[in-house]
């Protein structure tokens, strides 16, 4: 019964993306407060508060270290929220997908549109953080704008697994497991708050399998200055997670809706 056919993505995905953009535009006020408010609090609170004691980390002011990490983790949480709560709402209680599926669009297109939208929201949060970080004087020049496409990609990376959770969820409570068991641990161990090389070696190996590690490794030098350690590996890992999780999400949503 399970339909394993590889997804085909067509222009229709953009219609789904545009739908979400139009809804977002109606609620732009609270969205912007979220985008700016949260990272500003983190940077001001932790960056200055903790930074006062820490001083420098990995050869940069702690505020710069933190800002360049938060930009990646915020892309993760933004895309995860969108891919779980919003996608589930449209898929199950709101029946938006059922309506869309009566048009020529398919689940492949819908989820591709959702994923692009998650990437877009991640990019918007990234832009907000860049602005806050720049105002605080911890952004190292114009090359930091490259962080925007990076956080867009990070958004895609985390949108896929979140949509898998939506496809499996019976209700909203289910998402707590994913947050507690997956997202929060990554937030803690993937180099957002301290460099990974302080972790025991055996743990480091594992941490390098996690996508957020690669997101941080890519974003940090772009934002705070310095050499990119292994950009190709980072991008390949992020793209790989995005592609595989998108495919699994498509198969699972097909199994859920095409019955």
């Amino acid at each position: 019964m399970t339909n394993w056919r590889l997804p085909t993505v067509r222009r229709g995905a953009l219609a789904v993306w545009r739908r979400n953009l139009l809804v977002w535009r109606k609620l732009v006020g609270p969205a912007i407060v979220m985008n700016f408010g949260e990272p500003a609090l983190y940077l001001l609170g932790l960056g200055f508060g903790l930074g006062h004691f820490v001083g420098e980390m990995s050869g940069m002011p702690y505020l710069a270290f933190l800002a360049s990490g938060i930009i990646a983790s915020s892309a993760m949480t933004t895309a995860t929220f969108e891919g779980m709560y919003s996608v589930f709402t449209r898929m199950v209680p709101q029946r938006t997908y059922e309506a869309i599926l009566a048009s020529p669009l398919e689940i492949d297109d819908i989820l591709a549109g959702e994923m692009l939208w998650c990437g877009t929201k991640a990019a918007m949060s990234g832009i907000a953080i860049l602005i806050v970080a720049a105002l605080l004087g911890v952004v190292d020049g114009w090359q930091s704008l490259w962080a925007i496409p990076v956080v867009f990609l990070v958004g895609l990376t985390f949108a896929g697994p979140a949509m898998i959770m939506s496809a499996l969820a019976r209700n909203y409570d289910f998402f707590s497991y994913y947050f507690v068991l997956v997202i929060t641990p990554m937030f803690i161990v993937c180099g957002v708050f301290y460099p990974i090389d302080t972790l025991p070696e055996i743990v480091q190996g594992f941490v390098y399998l996690l996508p957020l590690t690669h997101a941080v490794e890519l974003a940090r030098p772009l934002v705070a200055g310095g050499e990119l350690a292994r950009p190709v590996t980072n991008v390949v890992v992020l793209v790989g997670y995005a592609a595989v999780s998108y495919y699994i999400a498509v198969v699972l949503v097909r199994r859920r809706l095409m019955v």
Partner: protein
């Protein structure tokens, strides 16, 4: 007779052990209203979903607009309008925006969308409410908007799954008149219903389904003529026992359902005479309808 717009042969759907649709055959002629009449769980909605390529078929062959299904589902849906059983309007948008967004899923050029929306809002008598939120609409208005939305792509075929379930009689009559207009313009309509009146009014041809099978097919008139006697005499309540006694020997087929008795007959004269002589007995004499056919074919036990 032109090519049928839909042709199904041995159409089959299994869910594990449950055989929801058991190899049914039917042809839907172009430009007509074709109904699927059946109790809950008869397989009507599953059949509709297979027509749209939204439910994988377990067997059989199906073509819509001469295109093989499910391979050509996208092309079929591009030319079809769908009114689902439960409204699934987009609550994040206004009435007019719902139509505009839906048009975008069909890739309809922006320049064409505005005049279409205006026309459809007028058709659905919702022009005044164009900027209202959908959750502020009454049930009847939401249904009309859902039907208008199904017409955004100018479909040749419109599929309606229980279009008037849950509506009050006024709202139902408005929907019926809109659907008649559509059919008169040459749009093929397919609808499922368990309202006999709806099927009798709207459908040129219908199939009666139960337990995943088609029990019979024809125009409402032909089905009535084929299965039941033209006259029905009905007695309700306590007195219904009298009918059974009186009906003996006057050429009557007697049926019972809960507290009512029905006598189906070609010559009602004799029984009517007897009933009139029974003082205080209330009875109803009416022509046989689709409901009588339906109950005869699908049985009278309760469905859940």
């Amino acid at each position: 007779m032109s090519e049928p717009i839909i042709s199904a042969r041995g159409l089959d759907k299994r869910y594990g052990d449950f055989h929801a649709v058991q190899g049914i055959d039917f042809d839907v002629p172009r430009g007509r209203c074709f109904g699927f009449l059946g109790p809950n769980g008869a397989g009507k909605t599953t059949t509709l979903r297979m027509l749209l390529g939204l439910t994988p078929m377990s067997g059989g062959s199906l073509s819509v607009f001469g295109l093989p299904m499910p391979a050509e589902a996208r092309r079929v849906r591009a030319r079809t309008g769908v009114v689902p059983q439960a409204d699934n309007l987009d609550p994040d948008f206004t009435v007019a925006e719902n139509l505009a967004i839906y048009a975008s899923y069909f890739g309809i050029p922006r320049a064409e969308v505005a005049p279409r929306i205006e026309r459809l809002l007028a058709f659905a008598a919702l022009t005044e409410r164009a900027d209202a939120r959908t959750d502020s609409l009454s049930g009847g208005m939401q249904r009309r908007l859902t039907i208008a939305r199904a017409l955004i792509n100018d479909p040749e075929l419109v599929v309606l799954d229980e279009p008037t379930t849950g509506l009050d009689p006024q709202a139902r009559h408005v929907i019926w008149s809109r659907l008649s207009d559509l059919r008169d313009r040459g749009t093929t309509l397919i609808l499922t219903t368990h309202y006999m009146e709806e099927a009798e009014r709207l459908c040129d041809e219908l199939v009666i389904m139960d337990h995943g099978r088609i029990l019979d097919q024809g125009s409402p008139r032909a089905l009535i003529d084929r299965h039941v006697e033209p006259d029905v005499i009905e007695v309700r309540g306590e007195a219904s026992r009298h009918l059974i006694a009186l009906a003996e020997g006057v050429g009557c087929r007697v049926e019972q359902m809960s507290t009512s008795s029905y006598c189906y007959t070609r010559e009602p004269g004799a029984l009517l005479e007897k009933l009139r002589n029974e003082h205080g007995l209330t009875f109803l004499h009416r022509p046989a309808g689709l409901e009588d056919v339906f109950l005869k074919l699908t049985g009278r036990e309760l469905r859940d």
